[in-house]
């Protein structure tokens, strides 16, 4: 009984996470476009991925 309730509640929570996460991603996309970061207007996903990785390195370096 409790196990079923827990499973159901966690499942609902996870589904809510998906929605929230999607909102976060869209928000990030908008911000990147606003900042003029390359490849966020384009469909070149490989370059976009590389650019994100580069930004991550840039932020990490700035935090050190």
């Amino acid at each position: 009984m409790l196990e079923e309730e827990e499973t159901a509640e966690l499942r609902r929570f996870d589904e809510g996470v998906v929605v929230k996460w999607g909102e976060l991603v869209r928000e990030q996309e908008d911000e990147m476009k606003r900042l003029g970061v390359p490849y966020f207007d384009a469909e070149d996903r490989e370059s976009k991925g590389k650019m994100l990785a580069f930004l991550e390195d840039l932020i990490s370096a700035g935090n050190e």
Partner: protein, 225 residues
Amino acid sequence: MNTGADPSKALASLLAILAQSTQSSPTSHLQPNSIYPPPRPHHSVSPNAQHIEPVFIEGDVFETTQWIGVPTTPWSEPRKWQFPKLDLDVLARRQLPSVSKVTTPIVFEKRKRSVSPPRQEGSRIVSPVVAAKTTFSCYSLAVKYVVQRSEDGEFMEAVTRVQRRQNETETDLWDERQRIIRSFETKRKMNQVLQSLGSQLKNDKVVLLLSVFVLMKGVGGGGDG
């Protein structure tokens, strides 16, 4: 990043790397100045929760994150921040009310640390140096451009703000999920205690008892767990 300009910093950095590499600790791969707390052991998760099937489908945005809902990987505490890698098609599908399994709206509880509010259109800080050029003939030119932009404090501040918001969201979601698991663990334990006492109480009464227990603890000011 610019340790090459300062030999002493470069040496210190090298020594730190060497020291790290000689550690045999299983968590030695973690950055010592990591912004996340050390990962909690997986056995802290309820044994029942471990068998819960992930709800995420293949190709979800979560697939590329390190910590959450990957179909083959159970939830784990966020360890190293990275941007979510967006799959627009998947996202577009997510926008549709395809999550028909959800019958009740999810309301996230308020956290101890206030969650940063959603960005508002009116509150945008428009940098005067925002460039319109976002297409480049090759990746190296784009990188060069971003390096130039990174010298602008506002640009880096904005990117760092994006990072911070994601960190907070991930941490909040993780904490919230752990809270759910803990609450059910507590209920189970109470059930066991009551059963061992020969009680005939059912689960709903357990919840009532728990509430009374929590209330009494609150009135008594007990914080000793």
